[in-house]
């Protein structure tokens, strides 16, 4: 212990230098990845068979009008210059206007993103709260009933189409049993009882003391959140199991047992603490995956989030909105991956 502290004290300057170098490397990776994301969406926007000029002026416009609009849109410039203009706009959050809602795409995204965030966060919470203990139990009681159960849960989670399970959930819990509220975020009657501040309904209603509205919101969110939570649980429990099995086979666990520590203490204090480091990466990844899974879930539950916004725009060939939304979700995905990577380095002394 003492020597470890001394070592760290001695190598402080070099540690700082190497962490600075790491940060620089991270920024580089982040920049090139984001640049690549922008290039891909730009490219997709260019291969669209719909002529954006005709979409604006109509196909019977005179040639001069067509040419003028073409120049206004910058489509006569060389591709690389067009990409540069696209990049400059994207950095300032300007993705053009949505044809469907006529708002700037960024405004629409800002309005819909909190709903997606609310759903994905609750889903991840459910996945972590249930998945981690299940995974630990499966690892500790390897080969037992609970281990088989976790295995089946995981396999099913990797095989069930999320949109189908959502529909079946609606059928059983909403239509047949009436336990939960149907599609949507809140009943219309409650939607005037509070003022949207954060656009996260659960927070807003709770902070303003509108408990009726709050419970209605809970009843709406619980089914889609459990659905996402299940897919998160399938992944998290399986990974927790394999990390715990790995840790429980280490020598320090044997040492702790030889010292006479209780089994509970060995598992929860010693093994879990070491398994927690890679687990954080997994949780961040599953959070990122839920952002993606929300596209289908939101469509089924008429949840007014980013996923539904993208699919609605898709069905109306509203490319500005589709590409803006894609870029935003892609960026969130990249950032979450980077954050989990940074956390890993921060928490695991071996990577320093």
């Amino acid at each position: 212990m003492v020597s470890a502290v001394m070592n760290r004290g001695g190598g402080h300057a070099s540690a700082l230098r190497s962490s600075l170098k790491n940060v620089a490397q991270f920024v580089m990776v982040l920049m090139t990845t984001l640049l690549g994301l922008a290039a891909v969406t730009f490219f997709i926007g260019r291969v669209v068979p719909i002529d954006p000029v005709i979409a604006i002026v109509g196909d019977r416009a005179p040639a001069q009008v067509y040419e003028r609009v073409r120049q206004e849109l910058g489509l006569d410039l060389p591709l690389i210059q067009q990409f540069w203009i696209y990049l400059k706009k994207a950095v300032t959050g300007d993705f053009g206007n949505s044809v469907l809602t006529t708002n700037p795409v960024m405004t629409d995204i800002a309005n819909t993103f909190p709903a997606t965030l609310e759903l994905a966060t609750l889903g991840t919470l459910i996945g972590v709260v249930l998945g981690v203990p299940l995974g630990i139990l499966a690892a500790v009681k390897r080969g037992s009933f609970i281990d088989q159960f976790v295995r089946v849960l995981g396999l099913a989670g990797y095989s069930i189409p999320i949109f189908w399970l959502g529909l079946m959930g609606l059928l059983v819990f909403y239509a047949k049993l009436g336990w939960v509220a149907g599609p949507g975020r809140l009943d219309v009657t409650y939607s005037y009882l509070y003022t949207p501040v954060t656009n996260i309904v659960l927070l807003d209603t709770a902070m303003q003391g509108q408990w009726d509205a709050f419970w209605d919101a809970v009843s709406h969110i619980i089914l889609p959140a459990c659905l996402l939570g299940y897919f998160s649980l399938a992944y998290i429990s399986r990974m927790t199991r394999s990390f715990m099995l790995n840790e429980l086979a280490q020598e320090y666990v044997i040492a702790a047992r030889v010292k006479g520590l209780s089994e509970m203490r060995v598992i929860w204090r010693h093994a879990l603490r070491n398994a927690a480091v890679p687990l954080i990466t997994v949780i961040a990844l599953s959070y990122a995956n839920l952002l993606e899974g929300s596209v289908l879930t939101e469509t089924i539950f008429a949840w007014p989030g980013l996923g539904q916004y993208i699919t609605n725009s898709l069905q109306n060939a509203d490319m500005n909105a589709v590409l803006g939304g894609t870029l935003v979700i892609g960026t969130a995905f990249v950032l979450l991956n980077l954050v989990s990577d940074l956390l890993y380095r921060l928490l695991d002394p071996r990577t320093r």
Partner: protein
């Protein structure tokens, strides 16, 4: 099987002895022996055998769809009397909104599913293999550039990238396949690169190089075959994901177009009749579930046999 002494007697142990011979007389014998050993450990895993059974069943159903399906998958019966009927003896899984037999549509839909899975695998695997092996073998700036591109594609959530591509290319099954293939190759490239890095410095590569083999020859003839087994495992494990993505695209109306009996699109139709005619949405969903479960089980089993390091 030339050159090998074939003790093909009625005694099965003779056959096994030939397969397990420590000194095979031909390449064929060695390969068959390896295959037999692999099969022995594979068949010890009951779940993997179930998975294989499901996949074989899918292939058989797809081949004999015309024989198995009692009704046409595209044209329906009488719209006044045979619409949205519940499962019965005549219509095993009920009928849909166009009075078509759901069972027949699911049977024919297996062809669509198989078509998607096979084509995606045929497009994505060679791309990933080529990018990964070239990147790993050559190293240097080629490696940096190729891996950066791979990372960018990996950074996108798969379904959303596929959605954006389909939006640009236009809905349809071919475009859905292209979009899924474009989003599938990056993990294969990563795996092939990791394998190549291990193979690159081995003695036999040095020996081939000293014999004057060209770089393409080394990559295609000596590196690629060794990357195949871990790649096959990964592709098989991915097939469930491919099926689910394709079904998701179909569900959103961006994949196969009506009246093609695609399972995801069938669930989407059933969505309109969910509460009173639940079977319209439920049945095709079960088909998707069973088939992706089959590929997952098969992939798990194959991984245990071909790539024991990766198994837990």
């Amino acid at each position: 099987m030339t050159g090998a002494p074939l003790p093909l007697t009625s005694e099965p142990s003779g056959m096994r002895a030939w397969l397990l011979s420590p000194e095979p007389h031909s390449r064929w014998q060695a390969r068959l022996g390896r295959f037999y050993l692999g099969w022995r450990s594979f068949s010890r895993n009951p779940l993997a055998v179930v998975g294989l059974g499901i996949v074989i069943l899918l292939i058989l159903v797809a081949i004999f769809a015309d024989v198995i399906a009692p009704y046409s998958p595209v044209t329906g019966g009488d719209l006044r009397t045979q619409r949205l009927l519940p499962p019965s003896e005549t219509y095993w899984l009920g009928t849909d909104d166009q009075a078509r037999d759901i069972f027949s549509r699911i049977v024919h839909g297996s062809r669509v599913t198989l078509f998607i899975v096979v084509l995606v695998a045929l497009i994505a695997t060679p791309i990933g293999l080529l990018v990964g092996t070239v990147s790993g073998y050559l190293g240097g700036w080629v490696d940096t550039v190729l891996m950066r591109i791979t990372d960018i594609f990996l950074a996108f959530p798969r379904l959303i990238l596929a959605l954006a591509f389909v939006a640009a290319l236009g809905p349809g099954i071919e475009n859905a396949i292209i979009a899924i293939a474009i989003t599938s190759w990056p993990p294969y490239a990563r795996i092939a690169r990791a394998e190549t890095l291990m193979i690159r410095n081995s003695d036999f590569i040095a020996a081939v190089k000293l014999q004057g083999a060209s770089t393409p020859r080394i990559i295609l003839g000596h590196v690629v075959p060794l990357c195949l087994s871990s790649l096959i495992v990964r592709v098989t494990l991915d097939m469930a994901g491919i099926i689910l993505t394709a079904a998701g695209l179909g569900f959103l109306g961006l994949g196969a177009q009506p009246p093609m009996p695609e399972w995801g699109a069938m669930v989407a139709t059933g969505r309109n009749y969910l509460i009173d005619q639940w079977w319209v949405a439920a049945m095709p969903g079960i088909a998707i579930f069973v088939v992706s479960l089959g590929f997952n089980l098969l992939g798990d089993g194959l991984r245990d046999v071909l790539d024991p390091k990766a198994a837990k």
